[in-house]
């Protein structure tokens, strides 16, 4: 038997992708999706973001913007206890991806990932 997480934080600077991931997770049964485009928006969401069970973070959140790694650090520093998954279209040598790989207890998933792959992220054995 598999159950689905209750709440997921989705951080991506691409609005279309953010909405698509949210729709997929909604279809999979995730009841609460917290969407943000940047670290600032995550901070604005406050508790809603921090109480999510999973954070799906895009590594690159735009030029000269805090990266997904910065978001992960902020989450951990503020007591976020859920899992963190970095979603990236960049190569492993990209400095932002290297930084993401060095964040403890996280996973890196390359784009594009399949619908099933995305759903598997929110499924937990019960």
């Amino acid at each position: 038997m598999t159950a689905v997480l209750e709440s997921v934080l989705i951080v991506d600077d691409d609005e279309d992708l953010r909405d698509s991931v949210s729709d997929v997770l909604a279809t999979a049964g995730v009841r609460r999706r917290v969407l943000a485009a940047s670290l600032l928006e995550v901070q604005r969401q406050g508790d809603a973001a921090l109480h999510s069970q999973l954070a799906i973070l895009d590594v690159n959140l735009g030029e000269a913007q805090p990266t997904g790694v910065d978001v992960s650090r902020w989450l951990r520093d503020n007591g976020f206890g859920g899992a963190i998954v970095f979603l990236t279209g960049h190569a492993a040598t990209d400095p932002r991806v290297v930084a993401a790989a060095n964040v403890p207890n996280t996973r890196i998933v390359p784009k594009p990932c399949s619908l099933n792959g995305l759903v598997a992220l929110v499924q937990v054995a019960s």
Partner: protein, 259 residues
């Protein structure tokens, strides 16, 4: 690649100009010194008139090399104008001084041989031609018993000539090797830039591709009529092809992330 070659051409022309100016300066100074010493020891003569003439020619070459914009043809021509008259002049100067008064034969020939080997700019063939001319004159003067009567000649001078040829060939092959290396480096840099661009394109296309793939999956689950499902299938096939293209762009990237 072209800009690197252009940079190398400019560098070679600058070096060639410097070599021509140096040779002209040495020739002008050498002629004047030679004229002074000849006057001092042998009382001057026709040889000195030729020395002054060649010093003037050298000064003119120096001025032209300094003033005119350097081109390959100009530098080779100036070098030829500067050095070609040395062949008959060396004969006159050698014959003017009795060998009995000298400790070594063909001193001037040897100096010019080394000068040609060290300074001939841009053209290997021009250098080889001058060295051949100097060698032939040496042997001819020796064979006609006009000079080179001291022991060891003409072989000592010919040994200088062989060494000069080796030096000249070595300089030329070094120049060619540098050119090949610059070309290879420039090509490698250009290929690296292309590879980086294609990887950047791949990286940037992955986000919209991800949106398309997920949206189509969602759409597929929501439509029921056959006609729309066929349209969605067609779009999914297109997305699969684009994903394959993205994967292919990453094939040679040793740092790609595996799903």
């Amino acid at each position: 690649v072209r800009s690197e070659e252009q940079r190398l051409d400019d560098q070679e022309l600058t070096t060639g100009r410097r070599q021509t100016i140096t040779a002209a300066a040495v020739a002008a100074f050498g002629n004047l010194l030679g004229a002074f010493l000849t006057t001092l020891f042998y009382g001057g003569g026709f040889g000195n008139s030729l020395r002054y003439a060649h010093a003037t020619l050298s000064a003119l070459v120096m001025v032209l090399a300094l003033v005119l914009p350097p081109t390959r043809r100009l530098i080779i021509s100036l070098w030829a104008i500067e050095t070609a008259p040395l062949l008959p002049l060396l004969v006159v100067w050698t014959l003017a001084v009795p060998e009995a008064k000298m400790s070594e034969s063909f001193i001037a020939f040897k100096m010019v041989l080394m000068g040609v080997a060290l300074l001939t700019p841009l053209s290997l063939w021009l250098g080889l031609l001058l060295l051949a001319g100097l060698s032939i004159l040496t042997v001819a003067l020796w064979a006609m018993h006009l000079a080179g009567n001291l022991p060891g000649e003409p072989w000592v001078t010919l040994f200088y000539a062989v060494f000069a040829v080796a030096l000249l060939v070595q300089r030329d092959s070094e120049r060619r090797l540098t050119r090949r290396l610059v070309q290879a480096n420039a090509e490698a840099s250009a290929l690296e830039r292309i590879a980086r661009s294609s990887l950047a394109v791949r990286d940037r296309m992955n986000t919209p591709l991800q949106t398309l793939a997920l949206s189509l999956e969602l759409l597929d689950g929501r439509v029921s009529d056959a006609e729309t499902r066929e349209l969605v299938s067609r779009m999914r096939r297109a997305v699969v092809k684009l994903t394959e293209l993205s994967t292919r762009l990453a094939e040679d990237d040793p740092h790609k992330l595996e799903p």
